[in-house]
């Protein structure tokens, strides 16, 4: 049997007295996409940060490509890309300088920077400081950063935020289904996320409210999740 891309068993994470995640379990096969749904504060971003090895779980087991986190985080980092709320770009550097910096950290050839810039139609503004770009342009650069090293696993936290339909179409080949990557995605638009997903993990106050195929999550349950 193939090793799942992501395996969670009884995952828990606390911030002081507050429970961010409790008893969360999930098995995500390689190449599949899971939509993580829930209201603001349900624990979606915390889950993504744990999968990115940026946060330690307080209980339970986390495996990415079979490697236990956080113990084997080093082995996983090259194989995942995170697109978070923050673009993780320096505002005083240009888009190209930012991407070259990330390419150097990931030991990726500089020509890959030009490739991804071209893919999101940012070549002409790539030499402007990031602080002078619109939010949509910054988000396109953030997509470039996340996929620069061609990771097989993408963690997408509101990946299409600030993107108009045209820009969303531009990034689709990089972060959408056509890219063929394993994806863990959240979205402020649950229906859009469901349309992209093979599995759903719905969280309410850090606990699993629903886990299964998107067809199993009925409209009433979805409304209740966001009520």
């Amino acid at each position: 049997m193939d090793t799942p891309a992501v395996e969670l068993r009884g995952l828990a994470r606390y911030f002081g007295e507050r429970t961010a995640l409790r008893d969360v379990s999930l098995v995500l096969p390689a190449g599949a996409s899971v939509a993580v749904l829930g209201r603001n504060g349900a624990g979606k971003s915390t889950l993504l940060r744990i999968l990115a090895a940026l946060l330690r779980p307080h209980a339970g087991e986390v495996r990415v490509f079979g490697e236990p986190l956080p113990r084997r985080a080093f082995a996983v980092r090259a194989r995942l890309g995170l697109l978070a709320h923050e673009p993780l770009l320096y505002s005083e550097l240009t888009g190209r300088e930012n991407l070259r910096y990330h390419a150097a950290l990931h030991r990726v050839a500089e020509r890959r920077v030009d490739e991804v810039l071209e893919a999101v139609a940012m070549e002409r503004r790539a030499d402007d400081p990031v602080r002078l770009l619109s939010r949509g342009m910054v988000q396109r650069l953030a997509v470039c950063r996340a996929v620069l090293h061609d990771p097989p696993l993408l963690l997408l936290d509101e990946a299409r935020a600030n993107l108009d339909p045209a820009a969303s179409a531009l990034v689709e080949p990089l972060i959408g289904r056509p890219a063929g990557r394993t994806r863990v995605l959240t979205s402020h638009d649950p229906r859009a996320a469901l349309a992209e997903a093979d599995l759903v993990l719905a969280l309410r106050d850090g606990r699993v409210a629903f886990a299964g195929a998107p067809e199993g999550l009925h409209d009433d349950a979805l409304r209740e999740l966001y009520a």
Binding site: A53, L54, R56, L88, L93, L105, P129
Partner: protein
């Protein structure tokens, strides 16, 4: 080492682009020398007194650099971006310490001649080689301890206070050694270029101890 160079190049480019740190450090040092010049109401100072003024001024100017060392990483997601990359975390310690060392050297290129102009009588040229050796060891101590302290402080709400509150006591032995090593050079009677070996050895040992300590604990400071 390669990753540290990548980080260092990025930090230097950011500083050249924003000029947020080094000019502020230089300005503080120059203003402090002027205050000493008029506050002491003396045309010139020398010896241990001069060394004390120089070292205290450079230290306070250095604290500005220490406080700003990780600000871009904290505010613009640099920590997360770095932690997402498959690289050795100690590269950040090396890069930040090297960056701070370069900032301190840039500060001293302006501040030391200004010190000579405002507060010293005789020419600074004869003791300069010895003074450079002493300041290089002092800068190393400030760079290593400053990086360590700044990495602790950046995760706190009162980071502007935590830096000096933790950093200044830790730097005290190094600064005493620096002042004691620089004092004889600024008496202008000592043979040029010969700072007291004992205090240079104390400084070098202090640098080594804190470099090893910083290397041992820095990974933990980047943990959540």
């Amino acid at each position: 080492m390669r990753t540290a160079l990548v980080l260092l190049r990025k930090d230097l480019r950011l500083e050249l682009r924003t000029l947020e740190t080094v000019p502020a450090m230089v300005l503080l040092a120059l203003v402090t020398f002027i205050v000493f010049h008029f506050g002491l109401d003396r045309d010139t100072i020398a010896g241990q007194e001069a060394a004390g003024v120089l070292v205290a001024t450079l230290l306070f100017a250095a604290m500005l650099g220490v406080n700003r060392l990780f600000v871009a990483e904290r505010e613009q997601g640099g920590f997360d971006a770095f932690l997402l990359a498959p690289v050795d975390r100690s590269a950040m310690l090396l890069a930040k310490a090297a960056g701070l060392f370069i900032f301190l050297a840039a500060l001293e290129v302006v501040a030391v001649p200004a010190f000579g102009l405002f507060l010293l009588g005789p020419s600074l040229a004869p003791p300069l080689p010895g003074l450079i050796a002493v300041l290089a060891l002092a800068d190393l101590a400030i760079a290593v301890i400053g990086t360590l302290v700044s990495a602790i402080a950046i995760h706190t709400r009162a980071r502007d206070l935590i830096g000096p509150v933790i950093g200044l006591p830790l730097l005290l032995p190094a600064l005493i050694a620096t002042a004691r090593a620089a004092g004889p050079l600024l008496r202008f009677t000592h043979a040029a270029g010969a700072p007291p070996g004992k205090w240079l050895a104390v400084l070098a040992l202090y640098d080594l101890v804190f470099a090893l300590l910083a290397y041992a604990v820095f990974d933990f400071l980047l943990e959540d």
